[in-house]
């Protein structure tokens, strides 16, 4: 029956992948695949409810998109990525449960050499100086354009330009592409090794963790509650 077909997307890389797989291991469920560990498609047999659940391994950002276009019913992804996505996408997704891993905070960060930059008020003043003396806006690199933009408006920071990053955001200030970055901080080691520090006092944009998300459309499917109870 069509009602009993479910697709779950799990993160394809790193610690998030491992911890997501562990959720099923703890329930004594094995993710099976035809082509071994690196296969991006797998399945789980749920004998109790007589269903096979398809498992896809995708990038955490892609998985949110997949929930809205009907590719999948459930995914494990980051709250940060959901909050940074288009409002139309957010409307179609429900956070079923926050998971106890993938904890990370989105911060405005600056080079450790910016001794004078400790708060968002400093950022605002440095941005005013930039436009006044250099005739250009202060640049902030980030993968989280929407969240950073909203945060800067709330903190009344004007004269800034957001430069979208596709990866290695931490390298942008060293290359003088941007002055600051808006980036996820978990242990802080990556930042530190790139001579960066978060604006701890008031530069926190969002506290995030991994979460189990479900497409609102899929909530109408028969059996979804049993699948969700696995998380």
């Amino acid at each position: 029956m069509m009602n009993n077909q479910f697709t779950i997307i799990l993160p394809s890389k790193g610690r998030l992948r491992e911890k997501s797989i562990n959720i099923f291991k703890k329930k004594k469920l094995k993710i099976l695949s035809d082509k071994g560990e690196r296969d991006l498609v797998g399945y789980i047999n749920l004998k109790k409810i007589n269903t096979t659940v398809r498992i896809l391994f995708l990038h955490a950002r892609e998985s949110i998109q997949a929930l809205t276009n009907g590719t999948a019913d459930i995914c494990v992804s980051g709250i940060d990525l959901l909050k940074d996505s288009d409002l139309n996408i957010q409307k179609k997704i429900k956070v079923h449960k926050s998971l106890n891993f993938g904890h990370a905070d989105l911060y405005i960060c600056c080079p450790i050499h910016f001794l004078d930059c400790q708060t968002m008020l400093d950022v605002s003043e440095i941005a005013s100086d930039f436009i006044k003396y250099k005739k250009q806006p202060l640049k902030i690199g980030t993968k989280y354009k929407r969240l950073v933009e909203k945060f800067l408006i709330e903190k009344n920071v004007k004269n800034v330009e957001i430069v979208e990053s596709k990866g290695a955001t931490e390298a942008m200030p060293r290359l003088s592409q941007v002055q600051l970055i808006g980036e996820i901080v978990s242990s802080g080691k990556t930042l530190f090794s790139n001579d960066l520090r978060p604006l701890k006092k008031d530069g926190l944009i969002l506290k995030s963790s991994a979460a189990c998300m479900v497409a609102k459309k899929s909530l109408k499917k028969k059996g979804i509650k049993k699948i969700l109870s696995l998380f």
């Binding site: 450790i112 004078d116 002055q179």
Partner: protein, 339 residues
């Protein structure tokens, strides 16, 4: 309140007072929009040259921009009507009346009087007129013994109440400075002093970073001054009294706090409450959520289930057009909002 039923009545009255209609463009270049409360809820899009435009979030701003593009330097009374578009309010209908190239207080009184009459035309309820003046707040901040950059912070963020009080509390408690962090930073400071001052780090020279750091460490307010200043600001923002008593109460407040601000008896455009079924009071915390005004500010409210409902907002916005890079226009105006 529904605009359709009430607008002909209001427009007929406004026309009779010599105001002429200005037709407004539905789209505005995003660069003209200032302030958190408008920016947060914009509907924006880019044209094929990459210029960002928005659906007009406020008609008063639109009207000023359009008027600035004419060469008219004489006093002009205009009114506008239509919808403004904000994500949080869907469609907000507004009717506004403004006097451009306005130089005197009689215009302030005219706009206020028209606002009161318009209010009376749409409801029989008792009206509550609250009058404030941002100039007083700016002058007060300017005379406090705090560094200039703190003065600027307070003035720039007065529109965002929540953030403003957060800043005020930092001024009070000196939370901006963390002694532990300063120790670490000082080590880097000494290392950086040995670097070439023109060396660039993430787009900033070593010299400009060190200069600003030194300025912050040596000139940042220490607790006693910050605490005292924050206390004065908070007390000022709590002043609320009848309009008749306002000049005396304000003068006493400024004298007591050794601030050189004088309030003449005729400082406010309304000195006595001569309007029936109207309560008129001075209120220092009367600060609109739209970052347009720079002098007189007012709102007309009515009571509903013990809550004040703001229906008409207005004030003087002499600095607005120049701050947007347009020709300077002194202006005073008011608008009624229908949801």
């Amino acid at each position: 309140m529904q605009l359709q039923n009430l607008s002909p009545k209001i427009i007929k009255y406004i026309r009779k007072q010599g105001f002429r209609e200005i037709k407004l463009n539905p789209v505005i270049e995003t660069k003209y929009i200032r302030g958190v409360n408008l920016k947060k809820y914009l509907f924006t899009f880019n044209d094929d040259k990459g210029v960002s435009f928005s659906l007009r979030p406020d008609l008063s701003l639109m009207s000023l921009i359009q008027f600035s593009k004419t060469k008219n330097k004489k006093k002009k009374k205009v009114f506008y009507k239509g919808e403004s578009y904000r994500k949080n309010k869907h469609i907000l209908s507004q009717i506004g009346w403004e006097i451009y190239n306005s130089n005197n207080q009689t215009d302030d009184f005219e706009v206020l009087k028209n606002s009161i009459v318009v209010f009376k035309k749409i409801t029989n309820k008792k009206g509550y007129l609250r009058i404030g003046n941002l100039e007083l707040f700016f002058s007060l901040v300017n005379q406090l013994e705090i560094p200039d950059r703190w003065k600027l912070r307070l003035v720039q963020n007065i529109w965002n109440q929540k953030y403003f009080y957060e800043i005020l509390s930092r001024l009070e408690t000196n939370k901006d400075l963390d002694e532990g962090e300063i120790k670490v930073d000082k080590k880097i400071f000494y290392k950086m002093q040995k670097l070439d001052p023109n060396k660039i780090i993430a787009g900033r020279t070593v010299n400009e970073i060190l200069k600003r750091f030194d300025m912050k460490i040596n000139k940042d307010p220490r607790t006693p001054e910050g605490k005292k200043s924050a206390r004065i600001i908070k007390k000022f923002l709590r002043i609320k009294c009848s309009i008749e008593e306002a000049p005396k109460i304000l003068s006493e407040f400024f004298d007591k706090n050794k601030l050189n601000i004088k309030i003449a008896d005729d400082y406010f455009p309304i000195r006595k409450n001569k309007f029936k079924n109207f309560n008129i009071e001075y209120c220092s915390s009367e600060i609109p959520d739209v970052e347009i005004y720079s002098g007189l500010v007012f709102s007309i409210n009515f009571l509903k289930k013990n809550k004040y409902i703001k229906i008409i907002n207005g004030g003087r916005f002499d600095q607005m057009s120049s701050s947007l890079g347009l020709r300077p226009i002194k202006a005073v105006g008011s608008a009624i909002n229908f949801i």
